[in-house]
């Protein structure tokens, strides 16, 4: 069987001692940074990106995905032990996780999150492996028209997945597309929106903006109410869940994984939505629904499984199409480009060892997280005890070093300040940044494919409707948009995100 051969190749690459070592290091460092409150996967990867520069391509990507899982998992630890979301998608874990911790069941809560994530990660990885080859074969026949239509679906679903106002989400996408165009126009060599600054000829630095918006402005927000007391759960005892706990975890883990896998493929933050959806689903159908909000283990298992499954399947569009579905995937694409690899359907053909090695290491990374997190929980607890007024200068410094070494000029660092300030101010207006980043990454790609499509079709915009694949894709986009805009759905959507956030 083809799949088995591929996986064998993958595991032979992933099990090389150097790759194993860097996967472990990545997962460890990812957790260290990800445990810090307010630092999500995107900021963590941006900060740690320079660490991977000197490595061979396969190893560096493996390390980066290790960092990604580590950061994702670290966020749940923070949510359970400190009642602060380490990242947006663990907001829901906080509700029951922290309650469990208050009742002296922090150990089982952490184990539930870990085991649920591991199970979901395994399923997600298998799914990526199964879907990758046929999807890649399909997309090799894609022309510029189809790519445009595909990107429109991506942008539309990121509107659907944004948690705030729809109009603002559309605005943020447009702003992202627009700012993404900064730099030299590849058709005419004309500089656009560079304000005469040489550093801007290559475009705005994605890493600097991500670090500014998700790192610096988050710190500023946290410093607003410094005096709020924080209770760190001091001691974690009795890590292993009881037989009863295990029994109660199975069904939520399965449902969470299914929801996460499906939503994760959608562009623009499937992880966040899937954790909300699966939590609400469990709350409705669980036999113990009365316990929800008071420390139900189902309320930890389901969203954690869901967001990890989504983290996994969000690799699918990136690996098979070269299209980033989330800002994190955009960073991965950036990292691949730095290593001299053009992401897209060709990778699977030209560099099978890299492709399958990465997939195999996803599973290994997930397994390592369990090995790493449960026994080392003491370290994370003590890390969480470090006072915030020592932590945040350290985070700011890591951000600076990370960005400076990527952009190699002071300008990139100034960009952090600008992005941080803009991010801080707009957070007061309740503008969400996930749609912005999707637009930012897709901006130049979209314009490029649009211009190509128009050149090929002779300036005929109806080509989007006359070519079958693109017509179908656009129809899907329209349907999604209509569904999202329907008042009834908009109401439920608001509830899904708001209901449990308090």
């Amino acid at each position: 069987m083809d799949l088995l051969n591929h996986l064998e190749l993958g595991f032979s690459v992933a099990f090389l001692p150097i790759n194993l070592a860097f996967c472990l290091l990545g997962a460890f460092l990812g957790t260290v940074i990800g445990v810090l409150p307010g630092i999500g996967p995107l900021a963590t990867i941006s900060m740690l990106l320079p660490l991977t520069f000197g490595l061979p391509p396969v190893t560096s990507l493996i390390m980066l995905s290790g960092i990604y899982y580590g950061a994702q998992y670290g966020g749940s630890t923070t949510a359970i032990l400190v009642n602060l979301p380490g990242e947006a998608s663990s907001t829901v874990t906080m509700i029951d996780g922290y309650q469990m911790a208050l009742r002296g069941r922090a150990g089982p809560a952490l184990a539930a999150a870990g085991l649920g994530s591991f199970f979901a990660g395994t399923v997600g990885t298998l799914l990526v492996a199964v879907v990758a080859t046929p999807l890649t074969a399909l997309t090799l026949s894609f022309g510029p028209t189809e790519y445009c239509a595909l990107m429109i679906i991506g942008l539309v679903s990121s509107i659907a997945l944004a948690s705030g106002s729809l109009v603002k989400a559309i605005g943020m996408i447009c702003a992202g597309l627009l700012l993404g165009l900064t730099g030299t126009d590849i058709y005419t060599n004309q500089p656009r929106f560079t304000f005469g600054i040489v550093d801007l000829l290559d475009g705005l630095d994605f890493v600097a903006i991500a670090v500014g918006v998700f790192g610096i402005s988050e710190i500023l927000r946290n410093l607003e109410n410094e005096d709020l007391p924080r209770t760190v759960i001091g001691k974690v005892t009795g890590l292993w869940p009881s037989r009863d706990d295990l029994r109660r975890m199975i069904a939520p883990a399965l449902r969470g994984t299914a929801i996460g896998s499906l939503l994760g493929v959608l562009p623009g933050g499937g992880a966040l939505l899937s954790s909300f959806v699966s939590y609400n689903l469990e709350k409705k159908i669980s036999p113990n629904s009365a316990e929800f909000g008071k420390g139900a283990i189902e309320g930890v298992t389901a969203p954690e499984s869901a967001n990890n499954a989504a983290a996994q399947t969000s690799f699918i569009p990136m690996l098979s199409l070269g299209l980033p579905a989330t800002p994190v995937m955009a960073l991965m694409i950036g990292a691949m480009t730095i290593q001299g690899i053009t992401p897209g359907p060709n990778v699977i053909v030209d560099k099978p060892d890299l492709f399958w090695g990465l997939i195999a290491s996803m599973w290994i990374g997930n397994a390592m997280l369990i090995v790493l997190n449960l026994p080392l929980i003491g370290i994370w607890v003590s890390l969480l005890r470090v006072p915030y007024n020592i932590l945040f200068p350290a985070i700011v410094t890591f951000c600076c070093i990370g960005v400076y070494s990527v952009s190699n000029s002071p300008f990139g660092v100034y960009l952090i300040v600008i992005a941080g300030l803009v991010g801080y101010v707009t957070s007061k207006f309740e503008c969400e940044w996930a749609p912005f980043f999707l637009g930012f990454v897709l901006g130049p790609l979209f314009e490029h494919q649009l211009r190509r499509a128009m050149l090929i079709s002779g300036g005929d915009p109806t080509v989007f409707l006359t070519r079958p694949i693109s017509a179908v894709l656009l129809a899907v986009a329209v349907v999604v948009l209509i569904i999202v805009a329907m008042p009834a759905i908009a109401q439920t959507r608001k509830q899904v995100f708001v209901e449990d956030q308090a």
Binding site: P50, L51, F53, G54, V167, K168, I170, G171, C174, A175, L178, L181, T188, Q190, R192, F193, I216, I219, L220, R221, L223, E224, E226, Y388, N389, I390, F392, P393, A394, V396, T397, F398, C399, C400, I401, Y404, S405, N408, P410, F411, G412, V413, Y414, V417, G420, L421, Y424, V425, T426, K428, F429, E430, C431, E447, L450, R451, M454, G458, G459, P461
Partner: protein, 159 residues
């Protein structure tokens, strides 16, 4: 007058971006035709949509019957301290070198917290400077100078 400040802020921000970028695109970049889009085509289309959204939000905010203030207060002290620290890091990294830059950045950053304590901040700064130099300069060998140009001159002069 009843104003929804969140929507107003967002609307005005979008309008500002759309107008500035739209004006630049209109002034500097050829629009082209649909068959052969110029560098100004896509940006101008985007700016038009963005301006529309900005206007919609602004008008809606002005008509809203509910006064909603902005959440939280504005953290002036952290904003000033952290921005200053980051700007200094970027500007003087070559001159100060990694070790001294990290030390200064951490120290200035610490001023953002009202609970800042010089001894604690100084110790943290020293520790981070050692760790960062070790990990980033010697560990992963990023091409960052450990000792800046200001001090290399000093060293040759002293010894």
């Amino acid at each position: 007058m009843a104003i929804n400040q969140k929507d107003l802020g967002a609307g005005l921000s979008f309008l500002l971006l759309a107008l500035v970028y739209g004006w630049i695109a209109y002034r500097d970049l050829p629009f082209g035709v649909m068959l052969n889009m110029g560098p100004g085509y896509f940006p101008l289309v985007l700016c038009t949509i963005l301006a529309g959204i900005g206007a919609l939000l602004t008008i809606r905010a002005l008509l809203a019957g509910l006064r909603t203030g902005l959440p939280g207060r504005f953290a002036w002290r952290p904003v000033v301290a952290i921005c200053l620290a980051v700007i200094l890091f970027g500007t003087f990294l070559r001159e100060l070198g990694l070790f001294a830059s990290v030390f200064c950045t951490v120290l200035i950053c610490s001023l953002a917290s009202a609970r800042m304590n010089w001894l604690q901040a100084g110790l943290a700064a020293l520790m981070l400077a050692v760790i960062c130099t070790g990990v980033f300069a010697y560990g992963v060998r990023l091409p960052l100078p450990v000792v800046g140009t200001w001090f290399t001159g000093l060293a040759t002069w002293t010894f």
